[in-house]
């Protein structure tokens, strides 16, 4: 597999990126990875959109953690998203902290990190940046845009804003708007970060101490929403952590506590607290229908030529089947050809990242049929 690693490109130098909040941003650096080779007629490009705390290392090891790419189970030579057939692009989203411009980047006006001076962004802003990147790569039409969770939100924004540049789209475990409960959980995470004295109003880049406690609590809360009660019960039950009985103290007596603490602690090594604030805010602001007279179907009216596939998971209570079906109904009502399945899975929201043969079959079948109809062949 041809992998092009650690790419960074500078966009919006001449014409600034006009953000939904009204502010202009210029320039915007985008970090991205590519896998495979772009074919001669540039028709085999697949854009993969990552989730909230995801990154561009979809099929190559993460430079900080050394862990394999977050979707390397699906992306690679001979895999479902076959890099011998497709040219796969994955870019770090706007506002994140792995090389794309975000609150931890240097504000050219001050020569210091943006911190809270960074403008508030939206999912649509992230997609604007992706669209510009794709254009710069010389790709007019994407064969597919694919994403789960916040990645799925980006897929939906692609369908509303750049349908003419898509052939097919796959959205997994996602929603077209954040509900009160979604916003509530995010707010707990943000308050945890801001309550950390080290956060210091977002100005912590120049000092030794970062708001790691706050960020780690934010991650712990969020992590619970990515699992399910059954998954937690099966994995941990009430099992104690390396002890025979409870200690009548506040140490991590239970395995589940120890697990969550570990999740929180390792997260801070690879993620910026301010980025977490900005990206969760972008997700909270998502309400696509609100921009179209509260009729989601109107959002997809220009997408009737795009083949779509939507997948939800039985145990996902973060973006449950009902929210995904909302999207499906809206696509249908706009005459967009769409397939949908609710995949049986005990693993909660994180299911889309896990090994589920029925999901694999669905995505593989869908992409192969789209490739056949587009006349796309292996390179």
């Amino acid at each position: 597999m041809t992998v092009s690693q650690y790419n960074q490109t500078i966009l919006f130098e001449d014409t600034p990126l006009s953000l939904d909040c009204g502010a202009d941003l210029s320039p915007v650096t985008v970090a991205f990875e590519t896998y495979g080779t772009l074919n001669l007629d540039r028709s085999n490009a697949v854009l993969i959109c990552h989730a909230l705390t995801g990154d561009q290392y979809v099929a190559s090891p993460h430079p900080t953690t050394g862990k394999p790419g977050w979707w390397s189970r699906l992306v690679g030579p001979g895999k479902i998203i076959d890099t011998e057939k497709y040219y796969v692009i994955c870019s770090n989203v706007l506002g994140s902290c792995l090389g794309t411009t975000g609150p931890s980047s240097i504000n050219p006006a001050t020569g210091k990190e943006w911190g809270l001076g960074f403008p508030v962004i939206t999912i649509r802003d992230m997609v604007k940046v992706q669209a510009e990147l794709i254009q710069q790569l010389g790709i007019e039409t994407l064969f597919a845009v694919i994403g789960g969770s916040m990645g799925g939100m980006q897929v939906l924004e692609w369908l509303c804003n750049y349908p003419e540049r898509l052939t097919s789209a796959v959205a997994l475990a996602t929603t077209a708007r954040h509900t009160a409960q979604n916003i509530a959980f995010h707010e707990v995470g943000r308050q945890a970060i801001m309550a950390d004295a080290n956060w210091n109003g977002g100005q912590y880049y120049q000092v030794e101490k970062s708001p790691n406690k706050g960020l780690s609590v934010a991650r712990m809360t969020a992590h619970i929403t990515y699992l399910s009660e059954d998954a937690l019960t099966q994995k941990f039950g009430r099992n104690l952590q390396e002890r025979d009985k409870v200690t009548f103290g506040f140490d991590a007596d239970f395995q589940v506590e120890s697990y969550l603490r570990h999740q929180g602690m390792t997260f801070v090594d690879r993620f910026d607290a301010n980025s977490y604030l900005y990206i969760t805010r972008a997700m909270d602001y998502l309400d696509i229908a609100a921009r179209y007279n509260n009729r989601l179907a109107e959002a997809f009216q220009r997408a009737a030529h795009v083949r779509c596939c939507v997948v939800s998971f039985t145990s996902d209570w973060l973006y449950p089947t009902a929210e995904n079906k909302n999207i499906v109904h809206a696509l249908n009502a706009s005459g967009v050809p769409v397939s949908f399945a609710e995949i049986e899975s005990p693993h909660g929201h994180d299911s889309f990242l896990l090994d589920l043969p029925e999901m694999d079959k669905m995505i593989a079948g869908f992409l192969n049929s789209c490739a056949r109809s587009a006349g796309l062949r292996a390179l």
Binding site: R307, C309, K325, V328, H329, N332, A333, P337, V338, S339, F340, A341, E342, I343, E344, E358, K361, M362, A364, G365, F366, N368, S369, C370, R372, S373
Partner: protein, 205 residues
């Protein structure tokens, strides 16, 4: 039907396929593995969509390039706009839905025409079976016992005629047929006694 078709459709599905106008918009509810839809897309260039409950069925349809939504007739018809399809097909499913009358109305709200097939509970073997055994009939066409059957709203051909008439729909075509797909005489009472199944092509008044 095209002559060169190598994989012929099941006779009852072929009968349905014959009624579909080329290039029309078709919704097949309970499309199973997509045999009929696939045939219609390939041979009649229809814009075909399906609804199917089983994951296996959905996956097979999607792999064949069909557009299918996992769901069922009771829960997933409400979101489709009025008259958004030329044909809506409900094959051997009406007796398995929770609310057949609502579903019938939905079919003719979404579709300009509806094609419905039912197993006929008035067929003589069924009647004889109940008469002689005094137990809910189990036949080749209706091969499950009362407590584990998916078919919760059995009706006879005459029963469905009554409902269609009561709700004011027009029967464009009525085709009773036996289990081999061979058509029987269309006189209502005769068909109700002889036919294993029946097909109705309906439209709104």
């Amino acid at each position: 039907m095209k002559q060169q078709d190598t994989n012929p459709l099941r006779p009852d599905l072929a009968m349905i396929a014959d009624m579909i106008t080329p290039n029309s918009r078709v919704l097949d509810i309970g499309c199973d593995h997509g045999d009929l839809l696939n045939y219609l897309v390939t041979n009649k260039s229809v814009d075909g969509r399906g609804i199917e409950l089983s994951q296996k069925g959905v996956n097979q349809c999607v792999a064949n390039g069909l557009f299918v939504i996992q769901g069922d007739a009771d829960n997933d018809l409400g979101e489709y706009p009025d008259q958004s399809f030329d044909f809506v097909i409900l094959s051997k499913t009406l007796q398995a839905v929770k609310s057949p009358q609502t579903v019938l109305n939905e079919l003719l709200r979404i579709g300009k025409q509806a094609i419905i097939t039912i197993p006929n509970f008035g067929q003589w073997r069924v009647r004889l079976n109940l008469l002689l055994n005094g137990r809910m009939p189990v036949t080749k066409t209706l091969n499950k016992t009362w407590y584990n059957t998916d078919n919760i709203h059995f009706c006879t051909i005459l029963d469905l005629f009554d409902l269609i008439e009561q709700d004011g729909y027009i029967i464009e075509k009525f085709t009773p047929y036996n289990k081999n797909g061979r058509q029987t005489h269309t006189a209502k009472t005769y068909a109700n006694f002889m036919a294993d199944n029946a097909l109705f092509l309906l439209r709104k008044s």
